[in-house]
């Protein structure tokens, strides 16, 4: 009798706490979306050295502009901004799901070799075949897939697979870096320059076709995350607990690795292997008031990349520089801070 009453009271307390938590989460998501919108508006209005009146730029950003405004905003700034948003979203999501899967803040696609694989693949196509655009993207995807398969094969052990993924990944990353360097050494001067620009990560020349590609990728990736998200949550409790909860551990792990690799590879294939966005998004989102889930990490990724691109294009004194130089400038100290803080979490 008293226990029944207790259960009722606890039930109500849980619901109250849950409502409060959901309110906080909504506020955080709305705030992040607001920041992203501000950065977007700044990009399409201020992102070019050609000055377009604010109002004209906004009109042009919806595709209704004409003349110079249409050319500058609709043909250049808007696709560039949306590419940054989507690539940032994909990088943020891929980073946080890797970090959660491996339970290590360092286990992002750029640290464990997936991005290095994409770089090697992309550069190989860019330099040896002399093709940019879609062939480079396919090369990057192939490189990233090779990296994931290699990680899975080499790290598949009976136990402690989780730590092995990081160690094996770092080794694979080094292997791919040597491939990239070898290819660069073979390239002529023009090829080296093109490859270096792509390697640092740059949104120059982003087109609406890139936006479409990334939007489709993001849509499919988010749908997949909805399906496997709860299994990933279970995996965070460790393989045995997850298996005890009815999760198929190996299958889920492979699915998450492949999904993260595809997201990182697609983003890198368009914007180049931009450094640190995947690494910092999860930990930044985790420090927000509602404790940051996947959506928050994705939004943070989008903000980081779009804002970095804005700075790279339009900041007085330093611009124009490749976007990846700015993300590295911001990301490297953050990485140090995360490494030094014992409570680094995702």
């Amino acid at each position: 009798m008293t226990q029944a009453l207790d259960v009722d009271a606890v039930l109500h307390a849980l619901r109250r706490a849950d409502r409060a938590h959901r309110r906080r989460t909504t506020v955080v998501h709305v705030a992040l979306a607001g920041v992203l919108l501000v950065v977007l508006v700044l990009t399409v209005t201020q992102g070019s050295s050609v000055s377009v009146p604010f109002g004209d730029a906004l009109v042009a950003a919806t595709g209704q502009g004409s003349g110079l405004a249409d050319y500058v905003v609709w043909e250049n700034l808007a696709p560039r901004a949306f590419t940054a948003v989507l690539a940032g979203l994909l990088l943020g999501l891929s980073g946080v799901i890797f970090q959660r899967l491996v339970r290590n803040v360092l286990a992002t696609p750029d640290v464990i070799g997936v991005t290095a694989g994409a770089s090697a693949g992309g550069v190989t196509v860019l330099v040896l075949l002399g093709r940019s655009g879609a062939p480079t993207q396919i090369g990057a995807l192939i490189g990233a897939s090779v990296a994931v398969v290699a990680i899975m094969l080499l790290a598949s052990g009976r136990s402690a697979a989780v730590h092995r993924i990081v160690l094996v990944g770092i080794g694979i990353s080094a292997c791919f870096a040597s491939v990239t360097n070898y290819v660069l050494a073979q390239a002529d001067e023009g090829g080296t320059q093109r490859a270096m620009r792509w390697l640092v990560g740059s949104l120059n020349g982003a087109q609406w076709s890139d936006v479409r590609l990334l939007a489709v990728t993001a849509g499919l990736a988010i749908a997949t995350l909805v399906v496997i998200g709860r299994d990933l949550d279970a995996l965070r409790l460790g393989d045995d607990v997850a298996a005890g909860l009815g999760t198929r551990v190996q299958r889920t792990r492979l699915a998450v690795l492949m999904l993260g690799a595809v997201m990182a590879a697609m983003a890198s294939s368009v914007v180049g292997p931009v450094a640190f966005v995947a690494l910092v998004s999860g930990p930044i989102a985790a420090r927000l008031p509602a404790g940051g889930g996947l959506a928050a990490a994705g939004l943070v990724g989008a903000i980081v990349l779009t804002a970095s691109d804005l700075v790279a294009q339009a900041a007085p004194g330093i611009s124009p520089v490749p976007t990846g130089a700015i993300t590295a400038l911001v990301g490297a100290p953050l990485l140090m801070a995360l490494l030094l803080r014992r409570t680094a979490s995702v």
Binding site: D6, V7, R103, V226, R236, D240, G244, L245, G246, S345
Partner: protein, 282 residues
């Protein structure tokens, strides 16, 4: 939940990690609504047996039966709705709250995209109340004491609402009051009808809290049966290789194990009586 007399059975099971089997010829029948303790020295295979019972390890030979059906042929979620497993020292993700962790226990009951049902919410509330962790529900798991943390993990397993609960060394690394906290809770669960199987390295605890003891050595079951029949000086000698006296606990009547070290031997008549050497029921 299901109260078939033998919710878990093994028939001719051998278990290994690829090479030679670590455990062989395992024929066990776990009784419903009782606490069964798997005991034995380090490396005897007791944790391996627990993992095989939970399907964390496949049986290399023979079959494990859950409610009479081959556990290897059952869907994962189906197994998870009937059998819960708490590994040794599980680690919660940083920052996760008690409520969030206990919610994970509903995983096998929920479908993709489905909103929490009232049954889910009730299961969570009940699990928190039964483990005395309701007042901790908003706290981060990593900020709790060892005993509280273990109770929270058990709450997660309870939210799973399984008839069978398997635990690997649920009291290790806890200080004595927290050990009692956890063991008392398991007795409560048993009294409410749950079948509990746990690995314990402390035979004294097994003697006090278990109904049935399965003693293993070198990958084989040496003896098994009701605690009072099985926990004898011979068992301690044959399984653990130690000299001990077993007396009746003056308060509870449970077997009380007094192990004797090299320096104690002159002091007490601890030589095992050679009769009753196989206390086991076949």
């Amino acid at each position: 939940m299901s109260t078939t007399p033998r919710p878990l059975e093994t028939r001719g099971v051998a278990i290994g990690y690829g090479g030679e089997p670590v455990v062989r010829d395992l024929d066990l029948a776990i009784e419903a609504g009782r606490i069964t303790a798997l005991v034995g020295p380090n490396g005897c295979g007791k944790s391996t047996v627990l993992r095989a019972l939970a399907r964390l390890l496949p049986a290399a030979e023979g079959t494990v039966l859950l409610d009479g059906a081959d556990i290897a042929s059952l869907p994962s979620k189906d197994v998870a709705r009937r059998l819960g497993i708490l590994p040794q020292e599980p680690v919660a993700p940083m920052g996760i709250t008690v409520a969030e962790l206990v919610w994970r226990g509903r995983h096998p009951h929920r479908r993709i995209g489905q909103r929490p049902t009232r049954a889910d919410e009730l299961a969570i509330a009940e699990a928190l109340v039964r483990t005395g962790t309701a007042e901790l529900s908003g706290r981060a798991v990593d900020s709790l004491s060892g005993g509280q943390r273990q109770r929270v993990w058990i709450a997660m397993a309870l939210a799973q609402q399984t008839g069978v609960l398997l635990l690997d060394e649920p009291t290790s690394y806890l200080d004595v009051s927290h050990q009692l906290e956890v063991l008392d809770l398991l007795v409560d669960l048993r009294d409410a009808g749950t079948t509990v199987v746990m690995v314990l390295h402390d035979l004294g605890q097994a003697a006090r809290y278990a109904d049935t003891v399965v003693a293993m050595r070198d990958g084989r079951v040496v003896t098994r049966g009701p605690v009072r029949e099985v926990v004898t000086p011979e068992l301690l000698r044959d399984v653990f290789g130690v000299v001990a006296r077993v007396i009746e606990d003056p308060d509870t009547g449970a077997p009380l194990v007094l192990v004797r070290g090299r320096h104690d031997r002159d002091a007490a008549p601890a030589t095992p009586h050679p009769q009753s050497i196989e206390g086991a029921h076949p």
